[in-house]
């Protein structure tokens, strides 16, 4: 059961965000972040800055390097509203320019309405990506949000008949090389191998995996990996984010 919005926590979050912005960011290279020691500590429990050195999935195959966009507010009261139709309609909207083709650079911005949102390239310390802690860490509201994520997957050869497998709290839509391959509807929890795509091919060279996760109340997370026909993790690829030239 998801808890209703706890207003006192929202207030605390907003206050913390103010402190966050005023003290300098986490990670340090980000321009618009600041945090109390508490938020700094929590954030660092979950993330380290991505580097220009490509990462590899661990033995469990989970993709831990992601470039995450600061969240976009969405209005829905319950995760049970995250139906197929809702996700279709939601993903049909344009939130920022080139949202289905952009390969964001760490620290780059997109304009959503009048707001500039920043992309952050991060490595998750967990097998999953904690979006609530991400938003919290950058001083953003974390309930009723849409979280965009992009990662770059490089393969030395075609990896055929693999499946994108994951879980999310709660709804999510994932696209591989521009095609929707996986959709998680309704009120879900973070469960490994909860949903899988049909068989897909990771092509030799560069592949782009992007998606959006939506969550109403409570924890916001996702985990993704590729698995083979037997459900075993596929790890024969690297994962990277685009870094600014000065840090390459």
């Amino acid at each position: 059961m998801k808890h209703p919005i706890l207003s006192k926590w929202r207030i605390l979050a907003i206050l913390a965000a103010a402190v966050f912005f005023s003290q300098g960011g986490i990670p340090a290279r980000s321009q618009n972040v600041a945090a109390s020691d508490g938020y700094r500590a929590v954030f660092s429990d979950y993330y380290t800055p991505a580097t220009s050195v490509p990462a590899t999935p661990g033995p469990d195959g989970f993709i831990r390097r992601w470039t995450l966009l600061e969240p976009i507010a969405k209005s829905f009261s319950s995760n049970s509203m995250l139906t197929d139709n809702y996700l279709s309609e939601t993903m049909a909207e344009e939130y920022f320019k080139d949202q289905f083709t952009i390969i964001p650079e760490d620290g780059s911005k997109v304009k959503y309405g009048k707001t500039n949102l920043v992309w952050h390239a991060l490595d998750s310390k967990k097998y999953f990506v904690n979006l609530l802690r991400f938003a919290e860490g950058y001083g953003k509201e974390y309930f009723q949000q849409m979280y965009w994520a992009v990662t770059i997957i490089d393969c030395e050869e075609d990896l055929k008949d693999v499946r994108l497998s994951g879980g999310a709290n709660s709804g999510a839509v994932w696209y591989l090389n521009g095609e929707e391959v996986l959709r998680l509807t309704n009120d879900r929890d973070l469960i490994v191998d909860d949903c899988m795509s049909k068989r897909v091919t990771l092509h030799k060279g560069r592949n782009i995996l992007r998606g959006a996760v939506l969550n109403g109340q409570g924890m916001a997370t996702f985990c993704l990996r590729f698995v083979d026909e037997q459900g075993k993790p596929v790890t024969a690829y690297t994962v990277s984010s685009i870094m600014p030239k000065k840090r390459r």
Partner: protein, 480 residues
């Protein structure tokens, strides 16, 4: 079978009413004392009392035509290497001895009477009773143990059932017979997971629709016994755990035979002495053979109806990937105070079907809410043929023609209307653990056998069958 020989050469008649198909083999499955079903070059064979037997192209529709010389009663058959060993028994009453009976063995390279290789060897006397002892040496049953040792069990209600070891190369006895059970008929042995099982029948034989024939079982760590039942009673003291007796309109189960389809899927063959839907005739029957707590369990015949198709992976149910239409009402976290309590109506198909796409709808696996998009009607399609022990089924959303179908990309989806295409026909096998394997008759453009799997908690697909993989297992919950 001991006192009455059934007439041979039953005339083929029109197959039973289609509504019976769920409960009995179709075609002309008329036989008494059927031998263990054996597959030979893609066809299935069983032999019966009096000579001859049945052939089936698919294991579901049976017709006379199998050939076994020698007459006599209650044969059995087994494949050993590239040959088939067939045993049967006769009783010689010419000298006034009622129980001087012999078991004969003969070999054949094939069971197909149309094959140029079809030729039985001369029957060889391998066991029996001399007419003076407490044994009637008929009703032979064969078992190949896990160690490659071949065993013959024989005997009837007149005294003891016996076990003797045979040389698997020539069927010649290589041990002295051992008494293992009393007052049994139609003995058959099988091995499973460290135990030898002696199957036999108790009850009145050969009384047609008044038969009380029933299949019982005991088990032992040795093929020569002692075989105890589930309450520790030795079968030589009359013990035996009931495996299968009569069913409504099918009377007198006897002459057990085990057929292993593949790892995790087994069938048991037997006869009902009287099928009330077929003039009380004796008919071949097959049921799923399951195992529970070290004992064989006879599965019930599949029943047409509305089902939840539940994945054993997480316990979620197969459903259309449509918007979940909420039920109106309910009070969430509120207990409702003093408001009057009244039953709520279930969500009905007409409440939601207008929200569904009209053409293809994909599938997912979701929490069970007993909603229309989760309710599947599974019905046999008699004209689609069958497989060993069952008929192909269509699986549709109840109240609609929307049919589960396999796709060329080795996935599953639904189409608006059932057309009878092979990818819309499903083979439903009960597995030995009681769950089900659900397999399309064909997958377009794919030659390998694929089954319905839960590749993820919430995602169905097609994949290779692995009886040890819970992803391949489904439960069918009949919705009343």
């Amino acid at each position: 079978m001991k006192k009455r020989l059934f007439a041979t050469g039953f005339t083929a008649i029109v197959s039973a009413a289609l509504s019976l198909a769920a409960f009995a083999q179709i075609g002309s499955p008329y036989i008494h004392d059927p031998s263990t079903v054996v597959e030979c070059d893609g066809k299935y064979y069983t032999f019966g009392t009096g000579g001859g037997g049945l052939i089936s192209e698919d294991g579901w529709s049976w017709h006379s035509g199998a050939v076994r010389p020698g007459g006599g009663v209650a044969p059995d058959a087994i494949k050993i290497g590239d040959r088939y060993l067939v045993v049967y028994s006769t009783t010689d009453r010419s000298n006034g001895l009622r129980y001087r009976s012999r078991v004969y063995a003969m070999w054949n390279k094939t069971l197909d009477p149309d094959s140029p290789d079809f030729e039985y060897t001369e029957p060889m006397d391998i066991a029996g009773s001399n007419g003076y002892e407490d044994c009637d040496g008929i009703d032979p049953g064969l078992m190949m143990g896990p160690d490659g040792r071949l065993w013959l069990v024989y005997g009837t209600y007149f005294g003891y059932t016996r076990v003797v070891e045979l040389n698997p190369k020539n069927a010649v006895p290589i041990s002295e017979p051992v008494d293992v059970a009393l007052s049994c008929e139609a003995g058959e042995m099988m091995y499973n997971d460290g135990w030898y099982y002696l199957l036999a029948t108790h009850g009145t034989c050969c009384s047609g629709v008044n038969s009380t024939y029933e299949i019982i079982v005991g088990r032992s760590k040795s093929p020569t016994g002692p075989f105890y039942d589930h309450i520790g009673r030795d079968m030589i003291h009359g013990g035996g755990k009931l495996l299968l007796a009569s069913e409504p309109r099918r009377i007198g189960a006897g002459h057990f035979g085990r057929f292993i389809v593949s790892d995790g899927i087994e069938k048991m063959s037997f006869h009902f002495e009287g099928d009330l839907d077929r003039s009380g005739r004796s008919v071949l029957a097959m049921r799923p053979l399951m195992w529970k707590d070290g004992w064989p369990v006879a599965g019930e015949p599949f029943e047409n109806g509305n089902y939840s198709i539940v994945s054993e992976r997480r316990g979620y149910t197969l459903e259309l990937a449509v918007n979940n239409v909420p039920l109106n009402g309910g009070r969430g976290m509120s207990r409702g105070g003093d408001a009057p309590v009244a039953p709520m109506a279930d969500q009905k198909l007409e409440d939601v079907i207008g929200t569904w796409p009209e053409e293809q709808i994909d599938l997912r696996i979701g929490p069970q809410l007993f909603r229309p998009h989760q309710t599947w009607e599974i019905t046999e399609v008699p004209e689609a043929g069958g497989y060993i022990g069952g008929a192909y089924c269509k699986i549709t959303i109840a109240g609609t023609g929307r049919a589960l179908t396999a796709t060329a990309d080795k996935e599953v989806t639904t189409v608006a209307e059932f057309t009878g295409a092979p990818e819309q026909l499903w083979r439903i096998d009960r597995m030995t653990d009681g769950t089900y394997r659900i397999m399309p008759k064909a997958v377009p453009g794919i030659s390998e056998e694929l089954v319905l799997v839960a590749v993820a908690d919430s995602t169905p697909s097609l994949g290779a069958f692995d009886p040890a993989n819970v992803n391949c297992k489904w439960s069918l919950k009949l919705l009343r």
